[in-house]
Each structure stands twice: as structure tokens, then as C-alpha cells.
């Protein structure tokens, strides 16, 4: 971290002083409450316009919603932090009741994901005083969600998570305005995201987190002095409950953490087991490490080589994969496998069992079949609660500046005893997304473009369908099919034949990242 980052990070609170597009016109830190009301309505109307699916929010006036009258004592608990001076508050923190009004009326926060973490986040934020909350999720409710996603009931199965969750919270928490968006995050334009002062992610998908992270980093604008333009940096608070690979954190932990035994514990612990683990982190785009900086700490999905599955199966999962990949398409060439259909799973289970018996492999069960086919990660209410509330607490502190901040990564492990481990994840100097410098890419003049495309599918890129441009030309496009066809011959041309020289720049676009990544070719001698 350099010095400017330090100051910026400490300036804390999503300062109400920073003019932000969402609350256009509210450039006064502590405006009189009337002013807040009118501004809020403008912002609320903007949200309503941007909302995709908000036609069934009940009883809400379309344009001018009256300010909600709170009952006596409602905010007594959070007020203790907001109206009182605190030794650990941000330097900009000025205790006052208007700060609560900012939270209630002006601050706009986006929750990504309305699943295990998302349900918790909506509740936590609503009870922390956030009133203008948007939630986005493309998923529908499944019965297996009900053991932890507490805003859903049996009768809601099949409906949109975002809609049902928003409706529940709005009903329970008087005055709260959760606006649901039943769609993919990629379906929303950049301007949608610009409206918010904070983004909190409760996602189980790495690609989705990668995408939103890159988008938020791209929104940061710098002035001529290379300082961040106030209001363009939208903090991202990211929660996750996957057991990610913390082995790499050893170097940080030795330096930053006094209890070495804890460190050792985490190193052994981080690899495989899931269910009682998670992490919460605060990402200040352009100031602190971003999600992409740590992308390689997430374990790749286990895949088995096809030859093992086909000719040397040894464990139950090999038999299940065989049933899924080989037998299903053979038996039902015209029917796609629906992993949510219990009859389909049952068919796979019986076929896998047959194959396992042929080879003398034990342990194929229906539950395992379902787990392997759907890549199920065990999940419980408790872990979601811990991680989501840790994220919501950071959101509350960031929005108000009432306290210090998590700096910047907290790992939680509840498998053996209870431990958290907090450390500063440092920016990766050559991070694909936040370093602002083209990534050096080792290659040679004589290799075909195809080799380069293949390397882009590996770490750290993991690009599935790249489009490659440079020197003002398009070298290769994976989609649409017509462009793919016309650029395909380039795959077999060498870099030299394509006119690329040492030090040339390439722009690579992919669905994984919202903006193209810059590569600088470094020819091997």
C-alpha cells in the first residue's frame, strides 16, 4: 500500500460530502432534513425506473413516497454509535442524528445475491438502518434452500428469490424499501451500478464476483493528480462461504499474526472442507486489493480425466460422471439432463450403481449422485449468518464512518473450535483488473495464436471465450459464430505472421470480465 492509499482508505465513511450520481444535488454533508427528503424521492424514483420487476411492491406511491414515521426508540441501539463521539471512528466522523437520516433516506446499497448470504444481508442491512436497498438475483427458490434461506417458505418454491426476499423484508421491517431485480448482474448497464454508494456481494459464484469486481474497479475515475474522483469509488464488501485455498496466505500471516499456531491451523484447514468456513472482505476499488488479486486462492473445480471415467473407474464419483457424460446422451440423445429433476438423478444413480457393481466399487448412493452431478456444496444457516453479518457490519461502518474498518480480509473457520483470522490481503502488483498496467505475457513469435488462446483459458485468466484485438485489428472472436468463422484461420497463424512484435499490446475481452484486459507481449529470446 502506498501513502495515498492509506489516507484514502482512512478517510472512511462513504462520505455524504462526496457528490455521488445517486444522490444528485445532495452535495452538502449534513443537509437539513427537508432537503434529504426531496433528494431521496428523486433517487427513489430513479430506482423505480431502473427496476426490472417492481410492479408488485404493494402500496408504494410511484413518485412521492411520504417519509416513514418511525416509532419512539426504534433506532436507540444504532444511535449510540451514530450520535456519540468514538475513539475508533473515522477522522471525518461527526456524530449527529442527521447521519442516521443519511442512512435511512439517502444511502443506496446494492445486495448481489438473494440466497443464503443474501437473505441474511437484507435482514441485517434493514435492521442497521439502510432503507433503500436493491437486490439482484437470477435464481428461483428450490426446496433445498429452505434449511437456511429463511425468507422463503415451501409455498415460494419456484419463484424468484429476489422478489420473494424483497417482499418479505419490506413486510417485516416497516419503512424498508427493498427493490428486487430478477435478472443476471450482466444484464444491468454500468449506470445501474453507478447509483449505489455500496455494493455487498453474497454470491457463491466466482465468475459473478469476478465480473462485478472488475466493473466496480472500472468505474473508478482519477483526476489529473492521479487521485480518485470522489464518488466514483464504490466499495465492494464480499462474503463467501466456500472453503478457499488459504495456503497462499502463509506469507502474510507469519508477518501479521502473532499466534503462529493459528496460522498453522488455517494452512492445514483451508483446502477441501466446506460448510463451516467462510470469508468476509472489504474491497475499496483502486485503493485496496480487489477480488481479482486473490482469484488464484479459489480452488478450481474438480474434474476427472475422461479416460479415467471411461476406462479405469476407481471411486464412486467416476461411475456417476460416466453415467452423466457418456450414458445419458446415449440413452436420451434428444433430452437434455435436468439436474433438478429427481427422476433424472435417479436414472443416473441406477446406471452409476450398475457400473460400480461391475467394477466392484462401493459407495454409490442417491445422495452422492446428486452431490456429484450438481456439484453440491454443503451449506448451513449458521455460517451464512456469521459471514453476512460480518459484511453488513462493515457496510454500516463504511456508510457512517462510526468505527474502524475490517482491513481487509477476515477468514472464518468453525470446523474445529471457532477461529477468525484477519489480515490485509495486499494488492497484486500485476493484477489483471486493478493494477492499471498491461500484464506482461510471455510468448514467442513462432507460436500460433491458438497456443495463446489456450493459455488464456488457464490461470490467472480462466477465459472461456476470448476475443482478441490489437494493432487496430480483430485477431480472433469466439462469438458470434459468423465472426468466429471469419477469424478462425488466424488461430493457426503464428504471432509473427499476424504482424505482432515483441512489446505489442493486445486487448482481450471475455465474458469473465466486463472490460477488456491489456496484455503486453514479451517474446522469449
Amino acid at each position: 500500500m502506498d501513502a495515498s492509499t492509506e489516507t484514502a482508505a482512512q478517510s472512511g465513511a462513504l462520505d455524504a460530502t462526496a457528490p455521488s450520481p445517486a444522490v444528485a444535488g445532495s452535495n452538502n454533508a449534513r443537509p437539513a432534513s427537508n432537503a434529504i427528503v426531496s433528494n431521496t424521492n428523486t433517487a427513489a424514483a430513479a430506482v423505480a425506473a431502473a427496476a426490472v420487476e417492481d410492479d408488485d411492491t404493494e402500496g408504494e406511491g410511484e413518485d412521492v413516497a411520504p417519509r416513514f414515521e418511525d416509532w419512539a426508540g426504534r433506532w436507540d441501539h444504532i444511535d449510540k454509535l451514530l450520535v456519540r463521539r468514538g475513539p475508533f471512528a473515522q477522522p471525518t466522523f461527526e456524530p449527529c442524528v442527521e447521519l442516521r437520516d443519511f442512512l435511512l433516506e439517502q444511502c443506496r446499497i446494492l445486495v448481489i445475491g438473494a440466497g443464503g448470504l443474501g437473505c441474511e444481508l437484507l435482514k441485517d442491512l434493514a435492521l442497521s438502518g439502510f432503507r433503500n436497498i436493491d437486490v439482484i438475483d437470477m435464481d428461483t427458490i428450490d426446496i433445498s434452500n429452505l434449511n437456511r434461506q429463511f425468507l422463503f417458505r415451501q409455498k415460494d418454491v419456484g419463484q424468484s428469490k429476489a422478489l420473494v426476499a424483497a417482499e418479505f423484508v419490506n413486510r417485516r421491517v416497516a419503512g424498508c424499501k427493498v427493490t428486487p431485480h430478477f435478472c443476471k448482474i450482466q444484464d444491468k448497464p454500468e449506470d445501474f451500478y453507478r447509483q449505489f454508494q455500496l455494493v455487498v456481494c453474497g454470491l457463491d459464484s466466482i465468475p459473478a464476483r469476478r465480473w462485478i469486481n472488475a466493473l466496480l474497479v472500472s468505474l473508478v475515475q482519477y483526476n489529473d493528480d492521479k487521485e480518485i474522483v470522489p464518488g466514483t469509488m464504490i466499495p465492494m464488501i464480499d462474503g463467501g462461504t466456500e472453503g478457499n485455498c488459504v495456503l497462499r496466505f502463509l506469507q502474510f500471516s507469519v508477518r501479521l499474526f502473532v499466534g503462529l499456531s493459528f496460522t498453522a491451523l488455517f494452512c492445514v484447514a483451508g483446502l477441501l472442507y466446506q460448510g463451516f468456513k467462510g470469508q468476509a472482505r472489504v474491497i475499496l476499488p483502486g485503493m485496496s486489493s480487489c477480488f481479482e488479486c486473490s482469484i488464484d486462492t479459489f480452488p478450481p473445480q474438480t474434474t476427472f480425466p475422461l479416460c479415467t471415467i471411461a476406462s479405469t473407474p476407481r471411486i464412486p464419483a467416476h461411475c456417476i460422471e460416466y453415467a452423466k457424460i457418456v450414458l445419458w446422451p446415449q440413452a436420451f440423445p434428444d433430452r437434455a439432463l435436468d439436474t433438478d429433476d429427481p427422476e433424472h438423478i435417479n436414472w443416473l444413480y441406477l446406471e452409476a450403481l450398475k457400473r460400480a457393481n461391475e467394477y466392484g466399487i462401493q459407495g454409490v448412493t442417491y445422495r452422492l449422485t446428486q452431490g456429484v452431478v450438481k456439484n453440491i456444496i454443503p451449506a448451513v444457516a449458521s455460517t451464512n449468518a456469521v459471514i453476512a453479518a460480518a459484511c453488513a457490519s462493515e457496510a454500516f461502518k463504511l456508510a457512517t464512518g462510526c468505527s474502524s474498518q475490517l482491513n481487509n480480509y477476515m477468514q472464518f473457520n468453525g470446523q474445529d473450535s471457532l477461529y477468525t483470522f484477519t489480515f490485509e490481503y495486499e494488492q497484486k502488483p500485476d493484477c489483471l483488473v486493478c493494477s492499471n498496467i498491461p500484464l506482461d505475457f510471455a510468448c514467442s513469435a513462432s507460436e500460433p495464436l491458438r497456443a495463446l488462446v489456450e493459455r488464456l483459458s488457464e490461470q490467472p485468466f480462466q477465459f472461456k471465450a476470448p476475443g482478441i484485438r490489437g494493432l487496430g485489428k480483430t485477431f480472433y472472436m469466439s462469438a458470434p459464430p459468423s465472426l468466429e468463422l471469419s477469424t478462425r484461420p488466424n488461430l493457426d497463424r503464428t504471432l509473427a505472421e499476424l504482424g505482432l512484435q515483441d512489446g505489442a499490446f493486445l486487448q482481450v475481452a471475455d465474458v469473465a470480465v466486463p472490460l477488456p484486459v491489456q496484455l503486453k507481449l514479451q517474446f522469449r529470446p
Binding site: D124, F150, L271, R367, A389, S393, S404, Q415, T422
Partner: protein, 538 residues
């Protein structure tokens, strides 16, 4: 296709994601659990929420308060209409609504009067949880739980600080679910069936597929035996030895027709996992410590199945086990053909079965000697016990009332160690006790009113100083800022801290109820200012 509804019932579908963690037997334990919650605070309802969702049998909320405006502000299981009503009743109704499988009950009688007049009321509970109690009441509930032998979790949210304390008499865990357990492979002490398996492997085959699919365990064992034969029976010791050992495996790759070495994944695996060759099979120190427990030597007819099995395990180790625990019987997946892999797996599994049988004979002998029916410990119990033998754990989390009554030298040492670090979350342990002392004298918490923050700092500091002396750690000071911050908190119960604790406490409750995974022992302090924490035994 058979009807899918026959395979998975509604409950199995609903609980699928947790059944994959604690299994059907863990779920059965949860479903028969009766949990008692003292105080339907935000912290309390957040704990119960996470227990009602996974399906505990029943819960009972003890709370004599009426719902206040501030309660509705921080508690999701209250709404604006409930102000002025019975808090116990409203939270019970709204929690119950989460899961119709769970039975919810409430008691509006004050805790104090239950403690004074009806201690037996608490006897049926599997677990007691108290939230937002200050030290004095905590000590009283703690004593009742000790008396009735009920595990007890104390949970408290105070401003940005969280406190969690477990009290449990003796908690024996067989299925501790270790994270990445070491495989028990016994290459250093190969059993006869493993040696005869090795003899059936043709290491000199010219068939490329066959050679590349010899299980790496066989490769390692072959090279280890050869190494020992030429090194006076000793395995590779020095790093030079070990490099040489790996080089030998490197040279064992098949030579292709063009004279180069074949790329063989099984040999790669053998080299990667070479440490397994010189790994010394032994009994983990935790298990040796268990063998020395007085429960093991003094079996009686009232001994629990756990201790009878630990005794039988020790007997096995001293007899058939020849100094080792029963073989676990599992091997990792490896690049190998199906036939030889499965035969190898079979060799290990058969040996494990053989060990289980020998262990079970010891169990039966002890049961007979104690005059207990053989069915007291089933064959499945014995099998599960053997499979988990290296990971058994016993937790004893001492009574909170003892901790509060006087400072033991262990407590003093622990505090001393942690207060060395001025930023340790353990400082909040002292501060939480200090605000309770303040409360006892003033009838309110420091900073209760907005105008009392500054004026309460000095008196609270006095309590802190006095407490540090009483705890035997007067050489340490608590930072002035922390004392100020505690006054600023004014005992606020923030929803986020309540929810973090709700998650942590419910997780520990599940561990206690299912007797799976290892609970914390015995104090957890969360610092929500920096999102850091400490786990200490006090």
C-alpha cells in the same frame, strides 16, 4: 424410471445441504433436541433462527419483558404491531413460522423466579442458552446447569463486541470431522496381506498401460523395502537419502523404444507422495492422553459407551494392534487401473475389518465384565469408533460460576499472555466484567444516556483497574480508548453483532447436540471494531 418421490422425501430434500455435513444420525439428534433460550433479545432470536431452520425438536423462550420500540428496531422476529406485547410470545410465534417441523414454547415467568422456585423446570432441556445476561445472573444459571448436567452457552452482544462462553461437563466426540486427515497407510509396517498384494504386481511389465497404472502405493512400498534391505533395515533419513529415494523412483519409469523415459502419472504421484514412505505410524498424542484418563482405568457399570470403547481401544493397542490403533482402511484415489486399485482398497478394508473384530471382542469382554448387555455398544458403533480412533476428542469446559467466583492461576496466566498484546480482543473480557460491576453499583450500564458517556469513563476505569488486580494481572492496563468506547456503546445491542453471535452460537449448539465436530473451549471474544477475535480457555 421409478417414482422419484419414493427416493427422497420432503424432509430429505429440505435438509439436503446439512445432511451432507452431519448425516442422518446427526439430524436425528437435532430433531430430538430441546433447547431453552433465556431472553428473546435480538441475539437470542438470531441463535434460535439458525436452530429452527435446520430442524431442532423444540425450543422454549423464557422472557418476561414487554416488547419495546428499541426491541423492534434490532430484532427481526418482532414487528411494529408487537410493541407492548409479550416478547416471549411474539418471538416464539415468528420463529415457529420458519419451520413447521419445530415446536415452539414460551414462558413469561421472570427468570429470577424460575431460578428461585422451580429449578426442576430446566431439567428436560438438552441445551441451555442465555443471552444478554450480566455476570451475576449468568453465575446463577451456570450453577443450575452444572447441577442438572445440562450444557450451557452464554452469549452477549455489547456494542460492537461479542462474547460467547461454553460450559459443558464432559463432551466426548467420536466424529470430529478432521479437515484433511492423514491417510493411515502403514508403509513403514506393512501387514502380511499388503506384502502379498505387492508380490502380485509385475513391476517389469513391458505393457505401457500396465506399467503406468501400478498404484503408487505399491511403487512406494517396493522401493521402501528395497531401500531398507540395502540400508540395514532403516528408511531414508537425511534429505540426501530422500532425494536419492525419489531418484530411484524416477529411474523406475518405463524406458520407451526410443530410449527415453515414459511420462507416467503413477510415478509422478509416488515422487510427490514419497514422504508417505518414511512416515512413522504412531498414536496421536491426544489419543495417548485419553488413554491416561482416569475414566479408562476405572470402568464401572455406569461408565459411558465412549469410555468403555476408549478402554477397549487401549487394550487393542497393547495386544493385537502391536502399539498401533486399528487400521482405518481407506486409501486415496490414485492413477491406477480399476482392478489393481480396487484389490488394493480391498486389502486395506479387510485388514480394517479384522481390526474392528478384534476391537469389538475387547468391547464385548468389558461389557460382560461390567454386567452390561452386549447391545449397549452396537457393531456399527464399534466400527464408527475405530474409523475415527485417531481423531477422538474430549472437551471439558469449566463452570462459568467458578470462573467468576475466583481467578485461578490458569486464568491469570492466560489473561497475562493475551493482554501482552494491547490490541488483543481479550481486553474486552475484562471490560465486559467491568461494565457489570458498574451495573451492580449504579443500576445502569455506563453510557446509558447520551450525556453520561464522558462522565462514566473515569468510574469505569476504576472498575477495570480493580478487576485487573483481582484477576492477578495488574501489570497490564486496558487502553483508555477501549474504556471510552465501552461507555459509548452504552450496552447497545446492534443487530449485526447479534447476528454474528447468532451464527457462531447456533453452530456450537449443533456441535454439542450432534456430538460431531469440535466445540470451542471455552471463551470467544469478537471485536467488531476491527473484525478480529480471540478464542481462549478461561
Amino acid at each position: 424410471m421409478t417414482s422419484a418421490s419414493m427416493i427422497v422425501d420432503r424432509k430429505t430434500q429440505r435438509y439436503d445441504r446439512q445432511l451432507r455435513l452431519w448425516g442422518d444420525h446427526g439430524q436425528a439428534a437435532l430433531e430430538s433436541a430441546r433447547v431453552c433460550l433465556i431472553n428473546g433479545s435480538a441475539t437470542g432470536t438470531e441463535i434460535l433462527k439458525n436452530l429452527v431452520l435446520p430442524g431442532i425438536g423444540s425450543f422454549t423462550v423464557i422472557d418476561s419483558e414487554k416488547v419495546s420500540g428499541a426491541d423492534v428496531g434490532n430484532n427481526f422476529f418482532l414487528d411494529a404491531d408487537s410493541i407492548g406485547q409479550s416478547r416471549a410470545r411474539v418471538v416464539t410465534e415468528l420463529l415457529q413460522e420458519l419451520n413447521t417441523d419445530v415446536s415452539g414454547n414460551f414462558v413469561e415467568e421472570p427468570l429470577q423466579s424460575l431460578l428461585d422456585n422451580d429449578v426442576e423446570f430446566f431439567r428436560p432441556f438438552t441445551l441451555m442458552i442465555a443471552t444478554q445476561l450480566s455476570s451475576k445472573m449468568l453465575a446463577r444459571v451456570s450453577e443450575v446447569c452444572v447441577k442438572l448436567g445440562i450444557p450451557f452457552l452464554a452469549v452477549r452482544s455489547y456494542g460492537l463486541i461479542g462474547y460467547l462462553r461454553l460450559q459443558i461437563g464432559e463432551h466426548c466426540v467420536i466424529e470430529s470431522h478432521p479437515d484433511s486427515p492423514m491417510d493411515d497407510l502403514r508403509l513403514d509396517r506393512p501387514f502380511p496381506e499388503l506384502l502379498s498384494y505387492l508380490q502380485q504386481i509385475d513391476f517389469n511389465t513391458q505393457d505401457g498401460f500396465q506399467h503406468a497404472h501400478i498404484p503408487f502405493l505399491a511403487i512406494l512400498l517396493k522401493h521402501l523395502l528395497e531401500w531398507k534391505a540395502s540400508h540395514g533395515g532403516l528408511p531414508p533419513k537425511t534429505s540426501k537419502d530422500k532425494d536419492e529415494f525419489r531418484a530411484e523412483i524416477q529411474r523406475a519409469r518405463r524406458i520407451k523404444e526410443d530410449g527415453s523415459r515414459a511420462e507416467e502419472e503413477n510415478h509422478d504421484e509416488a515422487i510427490t507422495h514419497a514422504t508417505k514412505a518414511w512416515h512413522v505410524s504412531s498414536i496421536p498424542s491426544e489419543i495417548s492422553a485419553l488413554f491416561a484418563d482416569s475414566n479408562v482405568d476405572n470402568l464401572t457399570a455406569t461408565s459411558s459407551p465412549f469410555w468403555i470403547m476408549v478402554r477397549s481401544l487401549r487394550d487393542f493397542v497393547m495386544a493385537e494392534g502391536e502399539g498401533l490403533l486399528p487400521l482405518r482402511g481407506s486409501i486415496p484415489d490414485m492413477a491406477a487401473d480399476s482392478d489393481r486399485y480396487i484389490r488394493l482398497q480391498h486389502v486395506y478394508q479387510e485388514r480394517a475389518k479384522h481390526d474392528v473384530a478384534a476391537f469389538t471382542a475387547h468391547v464385548h469382554r468389558h461389557l460382560a465384565e461390567l454386567g452390561l448387555p452386549l447391545g449397549t455398544i452396537s457393531d456399527d458403533d464399534a466400527k464408527t469408533f475405530c474409523r475415527n480412533a485417531p481423531f477422538l476428542r474430549v472437551i471439558r469446559a469449566r463452570p462459568i460460576s467458578d470462573e467468576l467466583a475466583s481467578a485461578t492461576s490458569k486464568l491469570t496466566d492466560t489473561l497475562n499472555f493475551h493482554l501482552e498484546d494491547p490490541d488483543s480482543s481479550v481486553a474486552f473480557y475484562v471490560l465486559l466484567r467491568a461494565v457489570d460491576l458498574f451495573f451492580e453499583e449504579h443500576g445502569r450500564f455506563p453510557g446509558a444516556g447520551d450525556d453520561q458517556v464522558e462522565e462514566d469513563i473515569a468510574p469505569l476505569k476504576q472498575y477495570v483497574v480493580g478487576l485487573l488486580t483481582d484477576l492477578g494481572v495488574s501489570q497490564h492496563a486496558i487502553k483508555e480508548e477501549l474504556i471510552h468506547e465501552m461507555c459509548r456503546f452504552g450496552a447497545a445491542e446492534l443487530h449485526n453483532i447479534a447476528s454474528i453471535l447468532g451464527g457462531l452460537a447456533s453452530q456450537e449448539a449443533v456441535k454439542v447436540i450432534t456430538r460431531q465436530y469440535i466445540p470451542f473451549n471455552n471463551t470467544f471474544l469478537f471485536n467488531g471494531i476491527t473484525s478480529t477475535s480471540s478464542t481462549v480457555e478461561l
